[in-house]
Symmetry: C2
Subunit: 229 residues, 2 copies
Amino acid sequence: MRDRISPARRPGYSVDTVLLTPVGRHLAVLLVRAPEGSGERWVVPWGLPKAHDAALSDTGARIARSALATAPSWMHQVGAFSDGRRHPSDADLTIGFVGTVPLGAHVAPGEDSAWFPIIELPPLSPRQRAIIDSSVALLRVKADSAPVAFRLLPSTFTLSDLQRVYEMLLGQRLHKASFRRALQAATLVEPTEEWRSEGRGRPAQLFKYAPRRRRRARRGLRFDQVHAW
Amino acid sequence: MRDRISPARRPGYSVDTVLLTPVGRHLAVLLVRAPEGSGERWVVPWGLPKAHDAALSDTGARIARSALATAPSWMHQVGAFSDGRRHPSDADLTIGFVGTVPLGAHVAPGEDSAWFPIIELPPLSPRQRAIIDSSVALLRVKADSAPVAFRLLPSTFTLSDLQRVYEMLLGQRLHKASFRRALQAATLVEPTEEWRSEGRGRPAQLFKYAPRRRRRARRGLRFDQVHAW
DNA sequence: TCAATAGTGTCTGTTAGACATTATGGA
DNA sequence: TCCATAATGTCTAACAGACACTATTGA
């Protein structure tokens, strides 16, 4: 029993955008306040396709820009979702997108939106919850196949910033010396002339993303990870 | 009510199933003959959702079973596709699924369907081509995070079979001794009492998939892979 | 001065890849 | 017999992780 809206008027599909940015040691997702009496108090920014959206990604980008007042640094489709009963839209089908916002680049969200660490999400509709989970999983998968980590950082950053981003993407702490050695070997970053001092401790040199050469194939073979499907 | 497609309205979305099985040293995809005059001669098995499909995956599973005359050993959604002009259906939107068929488990396809190695695909609609490419990419990503490789093999197999499957998923040749050492460490397989002789050479022992314990976290960190988005 | 963070050098156990060797069948 | 494939043992260079140490700031 879905909402009593004339079936002919029911939208074909809706689009959700899961926007992620680093906050502290965790990823955070942008949620917007839901209208009163809609079941949940917070929802993922969503919308419906419009005639001038040539591609699916145009719809996602439009919704993201509207929620952020700026464009995300990266977006990717997560998939189509139909299970789970409630969704803010009445659509049977929702296409999910994940987007990134660089560290510190988000304007302070107003009263109608807020960044929630993914380990402390408020109650959400089952479908939106599933889309968020898939979005984080996708970002984590992309972390070691493409430098999506740098989309979560501004154009210059400290190596400690970068390590924290990798740690939140990989979900585990990393060894500092090993991290920097691997980074050196990968020639992904270049130092700048700038330094940044934050509170106590020695100031850190700022680096920029500057991939120089293709890495050679990974050494070896792994039968790792969970066995779950 | 979704199955009642009024003639005036185009269907909301179609579902494509990309079914993959090992053939020789490459993955092959099942294609079915297209009706005369439809633009292409071969198409990926596809269909439209029906009322009794509770979830998206039900539609995909139904289409796959119909094309195979059996159920695939594994299925996963690939995503939603809308770009590319032509598609066998008239739908603006296509949800793609990828499925696996174990080595040798496919019945000889009749005149109306055939397995094509993914390196020698016939002309296809742009959208279906994109869905195939994404399906293969998804399977390759899953190869080292879950033992999807075993879904491409029958219940017992030789270690050379397994290595060939990993090679087609990873897209590179592997070192035999290293492969077996890593496999041993992963405790993913157990030997059976059976042996199989194929042509010349020493007969190979048959193994079965029997994961015994969780692997410990991967050692180290990689900044590998391509930098392309 | 102490505390905190940045950054680097060295050592060691692990291991991926190379190579060699034996085993066992078919042609 | 020759050849092809299976299966395994050994060696070595590479390297992840541990540890220690210096450097440089703010409190």
